[in-house]
């Protein structure tokens, strides 16, 4: 697969409008609170996509950073200061710091080893929150988070929270989009394709991988801090090891390695996980079977599928005149 510098044409502004309009459109159907939750999950899915889709490192412990962000923000509000914006910054910073520390070790590995080590650290984090730090984190019960009002920015009110999260989502989207089409983004995509060659060219891949890991962790921390503010509540479920499969599923079904894919996947997963358990009792089994189908038959995901269809249509238009070197592509 050739690496393109930027998405063929930059429909930047239209993309933003479409995302915002999409979320606004589903709001009347699904209630504001739920859609806010969806958007937070989408931020999380995008941070995972940066790690898995773009750098090709599958993590099964990304919930650790979400949980760290949630606890960072929640504890800051509870013990130090009620300012929600500062709390979000603290959440991001704590998750980022954790990423910096763990990244030093984790980034050395690849493949399934990377996935399992992340999972192991997530396990440790969950355990730490649950019992040794019980005095601070209130263990299994969790604790309430009530942020103070900040002028007109009253995050307790649902429409304002909705707007705020949408803004965060668009900012993250814009940031990641710029990042991925920058030279740095090309570097991490090359690491996915063939790390040895990148190293041959004289680049320090370790540094780039570490940086990406920290970035993905920080963005997941943002999602965690927003979760804490949205629910006004933090408990160890924010760091649950078994929830990791959700974001992997979202990323794969939407199409890994594309931000729109991550958004579609995030919304799809949230709709499935919110409404399906009402009708189907054996919900984990459904998830398992759909993951199997995706790995065997549907690797490109929804977005990749539509992209393929679109490319076919475009190809049919130019059929008739032979493409020079077209055979070489086969």
């Amino acid at each position: 697969m050739p690496l393109k510098n930027a998405p063929a044409k930059d429909y930047g502004a239209i993309g933003f409008l479409v995302i915002a309009a999409g979320f606004l459109l589903i709001t009347p159907i699904l209630s504001t609170h739920r859609v806010t939750d969806f958007m937070i999950f989408c931020i999380f899915a995008m941070s995972f996509d940066l790690l898995y889709g773009y750098m090709g490192r599958l993590s099964f412990g990304h919930m650790l950073f979400l949980g760290t962000g949630a606890y960072g923000a929640g504890l800051f509000i509870k013990y130090i200061n009620g300012n929600p914006l500062l709390a979000i910054l603290v959440g991001i910073a704590v998750a980022g710091l954790l990423g910096m520390l763990l990244g030093l070790i984790i980034v050395r590995t690849t493949g399934a080893c990377f996935a399992l080590i992340n999972l192991a650290f997530n396990h440790i984090g969950f355990f730490l929150v649950l019992s040794p730090l019980r005095e601070i984190t209130r263990g299994e019960d969790g604790f309430g988070v009530s942020a103070s009002k900040l002028g007109f920015l009253n995050l307790g009110s649902r429409p304002i929270m909705f707007g705020f999260v949408l803004l965060c989502l668009l900012l993250v989207f814009y940031f990641l989009k710029r990042l991925i089409s920058s030279p740095y983004g090309i570097m991490i995509r090359s690491i996915k394709e063939d790390e040895t060659r990148v190293r041959f060219l004289g680049y320090n891949t370790y540094l780039y991988k570490w940086l990406t890991f920290v970035l993905a962790g920080s963005i997941a921390g943002l999602a965690g801090a927003l979760t804490a503010l949205n629910y006004n509540y933090v408990n160890p479920n924010a760091m649950d090891v078994n929830s990791n499969v959700g974001v992997v599923f979202a990323c794969l079904i939407g199409g890994a390695g594309n931000l729109y894919g991550a958004l579609i996947g995030g919304v799809t997963y949230m709709i499935i996980s919110n409404f399906l358990p009402i009708y189907i009792h054996r919900w984990e089994m459904f998830l398992g079977f759909s993951l199997l189908i995706i790995t065997f038959r549907f690797r490109k995901g929804v977005w990749g599928y539509f992209q393929g269809v679109w490319e076919n249509i475009v190809k049919k238009k130019v059929i008739g005149k032979p493409i020079e070197g077209g055979a070489a592509d086969l």
């Binding site: 599958l58 099964f60 590995t109 040794p132 054996r282 984990e284 089994m285 199997l292």
Partner: protein, 277 residues
């Protein structure tokens, strides 16, 4: 102190049973088998049902439980793992994870989510020098050592074992000799799954039983495999017992932190010994 050593060795023995399958599957097939948690858990639940059914013949129930796992692991190998040869590790990981998700849900469907209590089938203590050591734990250690000897014999003296060891080293070389490697791989996979079930069956009476019990033990045995080296049989044996001791000694001073300490050891090993898989 002696009790701590016995405890450590028995945990190490269990970890050895489970990690040997993980190590072999990775070494030969390049597949990280998350479904290992599933075979382990199925073994345990089969044991529960059989012990109730046979009314206390623990040994017979244990053997039957291990045998039950064999066809299940064959099905997993035939329909999932075999399609994944040569794929990227991410997909094999996701697919086997999906299998374990389905399996755990089936277990919840059949047996429910509540933990089952189970008591030590021997329940007697060996007394000497004023110490009382549970015989069951000593028995586990003895079984592990016997198994190590048997596996060594299997890999050094039998033709199947030799082919597997050769395939660990160079798969294509073995295939060039006209040997159907896939057949031997499925034998290795089934062997590994049966050993995981054996570990589960032996560990069940001294641990708590619930559908998600496989996850933490898989993570521990994964740490064993990383410390011992992927596909390295002797290394797996040594690191299993070493980490078992780490767990026992930590548990003596800080009972909750035993598992965490294993991961810390693993992290330290990873800092000094980079592995590329």
């Amino acid at each position: 102190m002696i009790y701590t050593i016995v405890y450590g060795f028995s945990i190490g023995a269990i970890l050895y049973f489970i990690s040997i399958g993980l190590s072999l599957t990775f070494g030969t097939m390049r597949v990280i088998n998350f479904a290992h948690t599933l075979t382990y858990t199925i073994g345990v639940y089969a044991l529960i049902t059989l012990v109730a059914f046979l009314q206390g013949y623990f040994v017979l129930a244990a053997i039957l439980a291990v045998i039950i796992v064999i066809p299940i692991s064959y099905v997993i190998e035939r329909f999932i793992i075999r399609r994944l040869y040569g794929e990227s590790l991410d997909y094999t990981f996701i697919a086997t994870f999906a299998v374990s998700l389905i399996g755990v849900d089936v277990i919840k469907w059949i047996w429910g989510v509540n933990p089952y209590p189970m008591k030590d089938p021997i329940g007697e203590y060996l007394m000497f020098w004023g110490l009382s050591l549970p015989i069951y734990r000593i028995l586990i250690v003895i079984i592990a050592i016997l198994l190590f000897v048997a596996l060594n014999f299997f890999f050094k003296k039998t033709i199947v074992g030799k082919i597997v060891v050769a395939a660990l080293d160079d798969k294509d070389g073995v295939r060039c000799l006209g040997i159907n490697v896939d057949k031997y791989f499925s034998i290795v996979f089934i062997l590994g799954s049966a050993l995981a079930a054996l570990g589960g069956v032996l560990y069940a009476p001294i641990s708590s039983i619930h559908p998600y019990m496989g996850l933490s033990i898989l993570l521990l045995s994964f740490a064993v495999v990383i410390v011992g080296g992927m596909g390295n049989l002797k290394g797996t044996f040594l690191s299993a017992f070493a980490l078992g001791m780490v767990m026992a000694i930590t548990a003596r001073y800080w009972s909750q932190g035993a598992e965490t300490m294993v991961f810390i050891v693993m992290a330290i090993v990873l800092i000094f010994k980079p592995i590329d898989i």
